[in-house]
Amino acid sequence: MDIIPEDGLEETQEEVKDLEEKLNGIQLETISVTVIKQPAIDKPDFSEYPESYKENTNKEKLILAYAENFRRQYVHLFRDRKPLFLNPLNECGIEKFVCTTLRPTLLPFKELYHWLGCAEFVSDYITMDQLDPPAELPLQLHSPSTILERQLGNCFDFSNILCSLLLGAGYDAYVVSGYATKEVCLSDESRDICPLLNTKPEVKKEEDKKAAGKYSVKPPRDLRSKFIIKMEARRKKEEEDQKDKERMEEEARVAELEKPPPDLLYGLRIHSWVLIRGGKREVPEDFFIEPFTGRSYSPQNQSFLGIESIWNHNNYWANMQDCSNGCKDMSFDLNDTTKWEYMLVGADRSTLDIPNVEEELYDLEDDEKDNEDDKHLDMPAPWVRPINVTEKQNETRCPSGKKTILYKKAKLEKYSNYLMKDGLVKRLSVYENNELTTLKKVQEWFGNREDKLTMRLHEGGVVTEDFVEGRQRSLKQHVYKANFPGSETDRTMTFYDNARVDGLSKRDESAIEMTEHFINRDDFLYYRHVLFDKRQKKVAPATAEGLPRPILKITEKFHRNKELPANDDIAEQMFILSEDKVQITYHREDANISASTRDFFKPPNAEEKGGNLQWAPDMTSTFQVNQHKLPTKNLTVYEDLIRLIQVEQSSIQAVRNSEEEVREILADRQKEEIASELAISVYDTERNEKAKKHRKELERLAMEEKLRRQEMEMDYLAPFLAQIGNPEKISRNQAFKLKEDCLSDLKQRLIDKANLIQLRFERETSELHKKQLEYQQKQVVMTKEDEEQYFNYCSEAMFRIHILELRLNRHKQMAPHKYMQLEQKLRQDPRLSVYF
């Protein structure tokens, strides 16, 4: 073969490569198989785990044998496929079947009843740990309770817990073992747009045009040239096409730039996620939940590259479908045996159909037969401890209550409730660039704020603050410029109009203008616009509150009041204060296109004269639409004028009140921002200090009451009564004797006690005396330590003696009192009092 050595060389090299590849493949398999059998013990102390963690029941052994059989057959039949994730070790190093690690649990939290809440909880609560190496199945699968304790787990642990919660909430959920892209496996979302920014484009409601009636008038004839219109349309279309094209190119370019670098292990990275099949809980179709991020994906998503097997708490299925095209074309019809190979027979019946009642009855009879006919092995009960999440854990969520997620050009920080002093729970920062250096906007969400603030948005120097209902002035939204927080500057306040007496819904302000919008007012007012003049510059700098801005013009608009004829119903009244003029426009009659107007020219200082205004015909000018109608009488016009003068005053007052309100709101906001207090619900026993104190107080009182009652119940006469045999009635003699005995007994005891103290005192003193003597004798030969010991003893003995002395004195003092007390009590005792 020397003639073409190079070719030969190449050939052999290829052969070698081929062989190597094959060998590699084999090796991988053997390694993983052996690995499963190696008991890897990293934590020798299992004493805290219950029995079920440390050994297998017979049934579990049986199922493990089943699984082993399944695995063997599988390996035999599909030599080139990766091993299945069937029976990993648990935290005590015992083999457990994966299905028994699932424990369907419904936790007592409202938000965990929905899959979104579950997914969010799992992704927040547990810190993610990547598989190592990323292309191999993990050796261990921990029980959910262990993971919840550690708050750290890999993708399989995540899916395991999430699936348990979802099954508990009634979803048709499965754990999926498969392959995904690097981004998904590492929970790297920095190439995704933040879901909070992904606002759906508002669906424009197509105004259902009234069907043209039979007698709808024909539109006027269009006299424009059709050709020109056509040419114009064509030109526009071309322009748009051009723009579209450019945009597409631009987008493609950006996408190319942002494409992730090629991944060496593409398609090999093992990942685990959750599948929810449609049907239960009104889920319309199958979808995936990625447990690290808690986001849902459609099965068509390109991030999920393949599936090896799926399982729930009832059964285990191995995938028989080709995954070279991702999960795009996969069918999740688990009853189709050509696509899914099940492990246990007949375990998944419940997932199939909704049994109707009659059938069920029939089934009941049938069931026994079935069971006798072919006894299938069903799944053993889960070996894991119940999943338990406390209120506090649910609230704290992320380890230490904080979590930061990076998205494309955005950063999301999450905080648990009450963690931050100002009640911050979420902060989304959006940046101009991918390096997250130039800030574009910051959106912050708050929870449990005393001032009802829920959201604050900083964007382009404009601050938007949202409030929930319940503030004092029913503020809903406040938009202002960050640089000019003071009053009389550009701002927009939106209000909850149905909570306000004046029905104010919105107030726009600028330095010289103020516009107010109202809704549902009894006086039909819906709009008021005020034009201010600049303040006159005084010599001294005028204080903001001192002099109000002079008003140039007030415009008020009204809705139609159906009770009045349109010609008398004011549509708009304009007070031009600078010219002492009032302009009124009335509503239009249904048939008319023009509106009547009337102008008043006020004499100067009209408001001071009140009702005694002198009338002159040139004070008004009128345009009346309907010329056939009699002109309005002077009397009515005069009365109108008088009324308008009053209305003007009240409008001015309303404007001033509005200004005042704005100032008050701003002052309130400033105060609140400084205080930033958090509201604590009265039902929150953990945080509500006052309630806690109150409860403690109640407990203490109850305790005292109990003690007192115990004391009351101690009967000092009982032993003496017992002596005379507990008679029903006590005779006079007996009573005297009882009293005597009782008192003498107390006396005796008091004396005894005094004696006892005396005795101890004497013993202590004599002891001390002895020690002193001893010390004096041995003083010369004593070591320093002994000496020390002696001094210590002395001081202690002295202390004891002193105490005994005090006690004796006190006893001597108290004894007569006690004696008297007992005597008193005996006198008042219901059993004896008859005789005293």
Binding site: K214, Y215, A591, V625
Partner: protein, 524 residues
């Protein structure tokens, strides 16, 4: 009753008295001065007081159409009269007069408060139309019948009643009776009716009250039924097929037909007659059904037409008002600019610009109106055509049905003739088994008589049918022409008014700039 004024001549409400009263009670101060200068129209007056004037006769009040409150107390009025024009009256005081009978109040349906205190009334009556009555004061009168109080049950809104000082109050059962029968009352004789009295009264009169209520209920439902029927008939009339849903036409045929009635006595004819009647009524019912169906179609058509017209007008109005609003804004801006600028050249220029804008506005708005006129005219034409088609179709169909009626009549006539001939033969031969009534036998004297009689009956029947047909045809065509006429007239009126409005408005706009200019000049 007012002894004080016995010496004074009894008065009649006259113009002078009214003028004085109105002036006295009118506005005060500056407003009063203006009012005096201008004169107060009686139809603007809302409240009038005519007390202590020794009035005997109420008169001359017909001009006070808007009056809501009228005080005529402390006079010597004996008869309530002359109040028929005061339809807006809510508050009427006739206390301290000499009225004996309640009357003349039938037009005051808005009356809420009526005071007839201290009069000589002995009976509650003639107040049926005062459905809004809220307060009724009848103290110090001569009402003596307890049962008469049941009359007040018809006032659903009556809450306050005063009867103290009447003979009826001396009846021991008066209070409980009143409370029981007038359960809506809240105050009786100046006192609030407490719950205890109410319950006592209720338990006492429960049975009688129940009966009364039952009767009232029945009367009410009968009234409703009647109203419903009247309404139905009205709609049938509009469909031109009234009474065709029964044997009405058939009965009418025989009603004015003495021969026919006589002939119906013939033995053996009953069956034929019955069959004929059944068939006839059946056809009538067909006509009726068809008629109502067509009527529904027609009214739907009219409704659609009207709504489309309204839409078109509304749309047009919107366009016009948009332009006018735009112009108003422009005007305001221009006027303020004129005020600030002092240069006469610029002012001149502005004014001419304004004038051209006004002309343009006139053009546009007038253009809209012309467009609307064209559109409406076309639509109205369409509508007329369709409606005429529909109607002629209806008439043709009905005529077809009626000719079928006629055929029925003919067939019946032949049968009758045949039968009569047989009977005649028998009578002539004296083979008649049963006896015929006298007047019927009179017809069977010879062939001519009987044929004539039958012919006469037939003619009467045919005339009835023809008349009905004619009625339907004339009425339907009359309806169309009157409807179209009214539509045309309304459209014409609308157009004229709009044109007048536009020119009026534009003129006003031109006036405005002129007067503005003038004032400028004056100021300058």
């Amino acid at each position: 009753m007012s002894r004080l004024y016995d010496t004074v001549e009894p008065a009649v409400v006259d113009d002078e008295m009214l003028k004085k009263a109105v002036e006295e009670q009118g506005p005060k101060d500056e407003a009063g001065r203006i009012a005096k200068q201008e004169g107060i129209d009686y139809w603007d007056v809302l409240s009038l007081r005519l007390d202590f004037r020794n009035i005997l006769k109420i008169d001359n009040l017909w001009q006070f159409k808007e009056l809501t409150k009228l005080q005529l107390d402390n006079n010597i009025i004996e008869k309530i009269e002359g109040l028929d024009a005061l339809v807006n009256l809510r508050w009427l005081d006739l206390s301290f007069n000499n009225i004996e009978v309640i009357e003349g109040l039938n037009h005051l349906s808005k009356l809420e408060d009526l005071t007839l205190f201290n009069n000589r009334i002995s009976r509650l009556e003639n107040m049926d139309s005062l459905s809004a009555l809220h307060v009724l004061s009848l103290g110090n009168n001569k009402v003596n019948q307890l049962d008469n109080l049941i009359y007040l049950r018809r006032f659903q809104n009556l809450r306050t009643l005063n009867l103290s000082g009447n003979p009826v109050c001396e009846d021991p059962g008066y209070k409980l009776f009143t409370v029981a029968y007038l359960s809506h009352l809240v105050y009786l004789d100046f006192r609030l009716i407490d719950e205890e009295t109410r319950q006592k009264a209720h338990s006492l009169y429960e049975n009688k009250l129940g009966e009364l209520m039952h009767n009232e209920q029945q009367a009410r439902s009968a009234l409703l039924e009647e109203k419903r029927k009247a309404k139905e008939l009205e709609s049938h009339k509009e469909a031109y097929v009234e009474f065709l849903n029964g044997p009405n036409l058939f009965d009418a045929m025989y009603k004015e037909d003495p021969e026919g009635n006589k002939l119906s006595m013939l033995p053996g004819i009953q069956d034929i007659l019955k069959e004929f009647r059944e068939k006839f009524v059946d056809f009538c019912y067909k006509i009726f059904e068809y008629g109502t169906k067509e009527y529904d179609r027609r009214s739907h058509e009219v409704k659609e037409f009207n709504s489309c017209m309204d839409d078109a007008k509304h749309e047009n109005k919107k366009m016009a008002t948009e332009h006018i609003d735009k112009f108003e804004n422009y005007k305001k801006k221009l006027f303020s600019e004129l005020l600030t600028s002092n240069d006469p050249d610029i002012q001149e220029q502005k004014v001419s610009e304004y004038n051209s804008e006004v002309s343009q506005l006139w053009d546009t708005v007038m253009g809209f109106e012309m467009q609307l006129v064209d559109q409406l005219e076309e639509t109205i034409k369409d509508f007329e055509r369709n409606l005429t088609d529909m109607m002629s179709q209806f008439v043709e169909h009905v005529q077809g049905l009626i000719s079928q009626l006629r055929d029925l009549e003919n067939v019946h006539n032949e049968k009758l003739l045949e039968m009569c001939m047989l009977v005649l033969e028998k009578v002539v031969k004296n083979e008649m088994s049963e006896e015929l009534p006298e007047d019927l036998r009179m017809l069977f004297v010879d062939k001519d008589t009987i044929v004539n009689a039958i012919g006469a009956s037939h003619d009467v029947h045919l005339v009835k049918i023809d008349n009905r047909e004619d009625e339907i045809v004339t009425r339907s065509s009359g309806w169309i022409s009157s409807l179209m006429q009214s539509i045309h007239r309304a459209e014409c009126l609308r157009n004229r008014q709009r044109v007048i409005e536009i020119s009026n408005f534009v003129e006003h706009l031109r006036d405005e700039i002129d007067s503005f200019d003038l004032s400028e000049v004056v100021r300058a």
